[in-house]
């Protein structure tokens, strides 16, 4: 029973971070038809910003402020990237857009090294307690991370299903020309969605900071996992990102437990399996 509880919390914590990151990636693809290679870089910058701010402010409230400021700052950075560069490439072939975002990966990696240096950083969790459930130890901060993901999921659902802006975001995926003809400011909508996606990447980076070593390399680590989740779940689908995150986190954790020698390749096998059976992903929509 204790192993079941430990594994469940571990899976949900991993899935929570993967969901927040992948939701941003998939939203951006949905509205802009753009795969943002620099999404992992925004995650890394969020983590580094949160580490610096939490260290400067100190305490649990300092950490909370650091998480919020990091998410907002990364959203602002994303806005700048979209307005300055990506907007100009919107009508260009996908490869040009992809290469532009790849260039940002390199730029942000260098920038991060110049600003934060080559040493790793550490962040103290705002809550350090432990719960004891069914004989298992459950760190309280893991529950905080799961809670943040729940709030993000709820917020995205309300935004996309219950507001006019959400309707426009979904319409921008299906029929952008008609939407523009109806008077919607498409460039502004795309910029807003890109900022939201970037903010989610920053939020995920900040949220995971107390569990990880924060430093160079976080960008490439997370982007690969986020791509797998997004592709398996269905590009453009937030629900797919949630389910994909849960599937990949489960496969990783159970693979570690049962077949450790193959655990690292298990998520790729899942992605290949999904692509073979449903090339548009679990919750994606096939192209007509």
């Amino acid at each position: 029973m204790d192993t079941f509880v430990t594994e469940t919390v571990s899976i949900l914590t991993n899935a929570a971070i993967l969901f927040i990151v992948s939701a941003g990636l998939t939203l951006v693809f949905g509205a802009l038809r753009l795969i943002n290679m620099a999404h992992g870089s925004l995650f890394m910058i969020g983590a580094l910003l949160a580490a610096s701010l939490a260290s400067a402010l100190g305490g649990a409230w300092g950490f909370c402020v650091a998480v919020l400021v990091a998410a907002i700052a990364v959203a602002a950075l994303g806005t700048g990237v979209e307005v300055a560069v990506l907007r100009r490439l919107h009508q260009r072939e996908p490869l040009a857009q992809l290469l532009a975002t790849f260039a940002f990966v390199l730029v942000f990696a260098d920038l991060a090294q110049r600003v934060w240096g080559s040493s790793d950083r550490s962040v103290t969790a705002p809550v350090a307690g432990r719960l004891h459930l069914a004989g298992a130890t459950v760190p309280e901060y893991n529950l905080v991370v799961i809670g943040i993901a729940g709030l993000v999921a709820l917020g995205l659902w309300l935004l996309l299903a219950r507001t006019a802006t959400g309707w426009r975001v979904r319409a921008a995926v299906e029929d952008p020309e008609s939407l523009a003809a109806g008077g919607t400011n498409l460039p502004l909508l795309r910029t807003s969605v890109f900022a939201l996606g970037a903010g989610l990447a920053g939020l995920a980076g900040a949220a995971i900071a107390p569990l990880e070593s924060i430093g160079p390399g976080l960008d490439t680590q997370i982007i690969v996992a986020a791509f797998i989740v997004t592709v398996a779940g269905g590009l453009g689908s937030v629900l797919g990102a949630a389910l994909g995150a849960l599937v990949i986190a489960t496969v990783e954790s159970l693979g570690t437990l049962w077949v450790p020698a193959y655990a690292s390749s298990a998520p790729y096998l899942v992605m290949i399996l999904v692509l073979a059976v449903r090339p548009w992903g679990l919750f994606g929509v096939p192209e007509r």
Partner: protein
């Protein structure tokens, strides 16, 4: 509009590329190679190491040590009248990328000596290239014993305690602390040659020291694993009194933070590579009382040479030097000393000069054993302090005095090494 399937194809290609080779990191590294060459008043040395991913901090600080050593040589007038240039590239901890970097450095940049990398798997692959081209290769971070046995050649030098020496030092310390008491032990290590060899070395050393132990659990998470709670839960369930952990860098930081959240340090003593980089990252979160081992902790060398080096390093990079930086610097000193002594940059001349020599470095005069080109270094072990190092450095170092395991007590003999070289 571009079909979604096309995007998916590209995304999959990118994801697999990123996973297999760390393409972002390697591209960034290749771009940082700075030209050079043997002519025109300069000579080039290369450092292909890990500059991205969870173990990047080791490669980056090691590179700082190499670059500072080259700068110091140049400030003193250069080497045989030439300025020393350092070219570097990221191997993304991938053997194929490391080999590609080394080939580029040797063929395009005409590097006369190579330094690095971090991962022993990469080192073994690179060693094949440098051996074939008779280029001296200095391993100042990767320490698998196979590098100076199975794939050894006269062009290979290792100035870092190897995977036999390091765990033996930890076992010696433990034997001294336990004084014959019965203990339960678990092991935790990254799942590749270094991790498995280090754990094997530790267990063998416990037997050799006649430690009265019971091995209750062994876990091998992947290198760079972000979530290790399953492995931690398995360790915790076995209730060991000691955990020997062969992780390092960011992996060890993540282990410490996640283990602390599970309350592991309250019940168990962890023995791990708590070196300056890791302790600096952890700050006040460093687990007081845990046992650290380090290949070159600057605070255990109370010499004017080391103090001057630390001051110079702090002035240039803002932090005290890690063991990776210190050993990188010392490796370049060894190479430069051999070039100066032999009057040549050739691999054969450098090899002949260093074999069996005592070379002055920031760590003192270092003897290089002729049978395997292993530098005769001590390994250091100590308990983590509950207090910051000073009012200006919040890093929690070790309590004094540190335990020094001398080379001749922890290294294989020449006869043992030569048997492994066959």
């Amino acid at each position: 509009m571009v079909k979604k399937s096309k995007w998916i194809g590209m995304a999959v290609a990118i994801a697999l590329c990123g996973a297999a080779t760390g393409c972002a990191g390697s591209a960034a590294g290749a771009g940082s190679s700075g030209g050079g060459g043997g002519g025109g008043g300069s000579v080039t040395i290369g450092e292909s190491t890990t500059l991205s991913g969870s173990i990047a901090s080791l490669g980056q600080t090691g590179l700082q040590g190499v670059q500072l050593a080259a700068a110091d040589i140049n400030a003193a007038g250069g080497l045989l009248g030439k300025q020393v240039k350092v070219v570097s590239a990221d191997d993304a901890a991938t053997p194929a990328t490391g080999v590609s970097n080394v080939r580029t450095m040797l063929e395009a940049d005409h590097a006369v000596a190579m330094f690095g990398p971090v991962a022993s798997s990469v080192a073994a692959a690179e060693e094949q290239v440098t051996n074939a081209q008779h280029i001296p290769m200095f391993f100042h971070t990767s320490n698998d014993i196979g590098l100076t046995t199975a794939t050894y050649s006269k062009y290979v030098f290792q100035n870092v305690p190897n995977t036999v020496m390091e765990p033996r030092a930890a076992a010696d310390y433990l034997a001294q602390q336990l004084e014959g008491k019965q203990v339960t032990i678990a092991t935790f290590a990254p799942n590749y040659s270094f991790g498995r060899d280090t754990v094997t070395g530790f267990i063998q050393a416990l037997k050799a020291e006649k430690v009265n132990y019971t091995l209750v659990k062994q876990e091998f998470p992947p290198l760079g694993a972000t979530d290790i709670s399953s492995y931690l839960a398995a360790i915790e369930a076995a209730h060991p009194q000691y955990v020997f952990n062969a992780q390092y860098g960011g992996d060890l930081v993540a282990f410490t933070k996640q283990a602390a959240s599970y309350g592991l340090f309250a019940k168990t003593k962890v023995i791990a590579m708590y070196d300056y980089s890791v302790l600096q990252t952890l700050g006040s979160a460093a687990p007081a009382g845990a046992i650290g081992f380090d290949r070159a902790p600057y605070w255990t060398y109370d010499t004017s040479t080391m103090n001057d080096f630390v001051a110079k390093f702090r002035a240039k990079y803002g932090d005290a030097p890690s063991e990776w930086a210190i050993l990188g610097y010392a490796a370049v000193q060894q190479w430069a000393w051999a070039v100066h002594k032999s009057g040549s940059f050739s691999g054969d001349a450098v090899s002949a000069a260093l074999s069996g020599a005592a070379v002055p470095t920031i760590l003192g005069d270092q003897q290089i054993r002729s049978c395997d080109h292993q530098t005769e270094l001590s390994e250091y072990v100590g308990a983590l302090s509950a207090k910051p190092a000073s009012s200006t450095d919040p890093t929690h170092l070790w309590t004094s005095p540190a335990f020094e395991a001398p080379f001749d007590q922890i290294a294989y003999s020449c006869a043992q090494m030569q048997a492994l070289q066959k």
